[in-house]
Symmetry: C2
Subunit: 464 residues, 2 copies
């Protein structure tokens, strides 16, 4: 009997008519041991069939694959699980750089929410397409997104070839219709794009969605088996304001409305308190947190308590938030900044090693968005979402410690090839599914109408 992980075995045992679709040879593969710790497999061969990883083995192929198989000779390159953007608002790339050097209140009330009242479906679709191009270029293969008009984002996901968990955002100010649209979207788009789209319910935040709506959301999540994606405890001021107004923290609001007993992804959490940690431990749902450190520095917030959350078993995934606050959708940059700012925040240079940062970028991010069985590792049975990275540039030579090279010297521009579900979306930095100049030109032409604030409208008012 043939061992299916034997080098050079490009066909499944007993099924020689079903050859590999894609074989990648000669790379060094980032792999996880049974404890989830990071290792590197030299001279690795990855065999991919039907969008999934079949084998990851060391050594050259003993026999050449059949001519129908696509071959990538990745000599000298690193193969990594594709990066996962655990919290973003893709269409907001249209607002990149529009609202700089402002505190959060002015950022929302004076700039972002007035401009968002102008958004058309086409603006959102173009923004999402440009965002997908940026993420593919940066080695991001999956993202979790909540925004308005999410059918347009779903269309961009379908067209781009990326994987995404999508949720239609809503405020209580929209009335029951907001929540109903979020549910309708989640049920309608779940499993779309050949299963690359999963969905969530997406109440915006405890300061814009009231307890009744949050409780109803938790009930719907349970009834329909849907996860929830929500902003909470974004900063310490929100936590203080919540305690002053309601007598409880934002995390305690999630607890009392039942949202910690369903699968929930919490964006930011820089305002999570020590007492919140005990509350989070009581939650019976799968709880994940997304950290987007660049924006926290810009807003002069504290950062997510990654060490404390990790200590109670809550996965913290990496994120960029929207480009209106983060200026990029570059998860590689989030990985580097997480490594740097976590050391600073904990006053401990020995914490958040490069290997720990790589865990957050891979398995922890997959857990945070509820896709740990499908993605986040280069292992048989996982979806073939992976990237190839070139470390021959002068800024990544010489190599003493591959993990440190990846996290602290390499950057997203070193990603050469991006693959999702076994399909090549970027090869040697050329995008296969999206035309950036065309998308950017159409979007740029729409900016005067999009950024008009003379009408005085806003989609919402920020007042925690």
């Amino acid at each position: 009997m043939t061992d299916p992980t034997e080098p050079g075995d490009f066909t499944e045992p007993g099924d020689p008519t079903n050859p590999a679709d894609l074989v990648i040879t000669g790379c060094t593969a980032l792999v996880h041991d049974p404890h989830g710790d990071i290792g590197f497999l030299d001279n690795a061969t990855l065999v991919i069939r039907d969008g999934a990883i079949v084998t990851v083995t060391q050594g050259n192929a003993a026999t050449p694959p059949p001519p129908t198989t696509e071959l990538i000779h990745a000599d000298g390159q690193l193969a990594l699980p594709g990066l996962i953007n655990c919290h973003t608002h893709a269409p907001m790339v249209a607002l990149r750089g529009l609202a700089e050097d402002l505190p959060i209140e002015q950022w929302f009330n004076a700039r972002i929410w007035p401009v968002e009242s102008n958004l058309t479906d086409r603006d959102i679709e173009l923004g999402a397409l440009l965002a997908c191009a940026e993420m593919i270029s940066a080695g991001v293969t999956a993202f979790a997104d909540t925004y308005f008009a999410m059918d347009q984002v779903a269309a961009a996901v379908r067209h781009s070839g990326l994987r995404a968990n999508l949720g239609q955002a809503y405020f209580s100010s929209q009335g029951p219709e907001g929540r109903e649209r979020s549910l309708d979207f989640a049920l309608r788009q779940r499993g779309a794009a050949n299963g690359r789209i999963t969905t969530s319910l997406a109440p915006h935040a405890p300061y814009t969605v009231d307890d009744a709506d949050l409780t109803a959301t938790a009930d719907l999540a349970r009834e329909h088996g849907l996860p929830v994606h929500i902003h909470a405890a974004e900063n310490k001021d929100q936590t203080a304001s919540s305690v002053a107004r309601h007598g409880v923290t934002p995390i305690e609001i999630l607890h009392r409305t039942g949202l910690l007993d369903v699968d929930v992804l919490i964006a930011h959490g820089t305002g999570i308190t020590d007492q919140d940690l005990a509350v989070l431990r009581q939650g019976s749902g799968r709880i994940g947190v997304a950290t987007a450190p660049k924006g926290y520095l810009k807003f002069a917030w504290d950062t997510t308590p990654v060490r404390a959350l990790s200590a109670i078993g809550i996965p913290v995934g990496l994120a960029t938030d929207g480009a209106a606050s983060n200026n990029t959708l570059d998860v590689w940059e989030s990985m580097t900044l997480t490594a740097l700012t976590q050391k600073a925040a904990e006053h401990d240079p020995t914490w958040m090693t490069a290997r720990q940062a790589l865990r957050h970028a891979t398995t922890e991010s997959a857990r945070a968005i509820g896709l740990s069985e499908a993605i986040g590792a280069l292992a048989p049975g996982r979806r073939a979402d992976l990237i190839l990275v070139d470390l021959t540039g002068p800024h990544t030579q010489p190599i003493h410690d591959l993990a440190a090279t990846l996290v602290l010297s390499a950057r997203s521009a070193d990603v050469r090839t991006t693959i999702v579900d076994g399909k090549v979306l970027m090869r040697d930095r050329r995008l296969h599914t999206l035309d950036v100049p065309e998308i950017a030109a159409e979007l740029t032409a729409r900016l005067p109408a999009l950024t008009d604030r003379s009408h005085g409208r806003r989609v919402q008012h920020y007042d925690t």
Copy 2:
């Protein structure tokens, strides 16, 4: 009479036999107004002759330049003054990633200083060559460096085409010979490489060089008209330790040894206190400070008090320190991190705007290293040290605010072309003066000997 700044004027008035060497057309040029504030000149033409910028004008060339002139059509690209790395140890790229996740004491005593005792001249030259390749690739056109065997670094500067201010580092533990070698190097190499090399005296730090040597250094600086480049107040612990041992801060040591009354470049200064600011104000020399924020995050230090230093008129330039602590020599990354971490450190999202960060990257950096009349701005009479940056990538579109796009969305990999003294060192990301695979291969082969620590030697012991 012809206005020499008239578009299309490629010859100096009255000297038609002296045509431009290089003309760059169609770009948007970053320029400074008389107050030093940043502006952008659309559709700019730069005329370069004899290594200097002759004109920066708006509009297309009225007449074509002579055929002997090199032409760069830079349509859609940004022309910026070349970035300046105000404090680095170029050869330490050989140690990139060798000593991670350690507090500074262990970083020095257990890793860096033992390994540095193995350094050969060839290691240093190869490290410096690789560093030059990295800096050219990252849009850095000048750097200030102190290390051992600086003749090897000077050779790399000469070969690479970069500009540098170089100083041979010394400790008092080396006896008077250390200081004498530093002076010998500074006098011998001053003005080398067609003037691209300037020199400094380089006592390592107040905790490794005693007051007598520092005073002697100040006297030599005055006698020979040489600047001084020194680490001081690198972190708060050093300041506290200095006060405990000597009754004065490191900055007060610089003051009492006369080093604030000569031209001095202070590396880091994250341990500068409020009372130090008053001391710095009393200094009669040209004082500059170099900030390298990435390493401060890694070591969990505070950051340089840029706002307070700027308020008393001290220029703060951007730096990377050596790659053993910083992992890259990417000044663009330092610019982004300075913008981000200064907001966080001051708890003020309105401080360190993108335009302020660009000032630090250009004119302030040139002032910090004492070259403000030669470089740091695209203006007639300055040396032609500049870079061309591509902003058509998906991560830099659309553009609402060019300064924000540059500082917070673009990255060093977007630099397409690097020019020093009018010579093209990189064009469309292809290096013209250095062969990275060859340098990296030779350096990598030497790593086992370089990193051997079995001998138990160190170049110095860290004990502030």
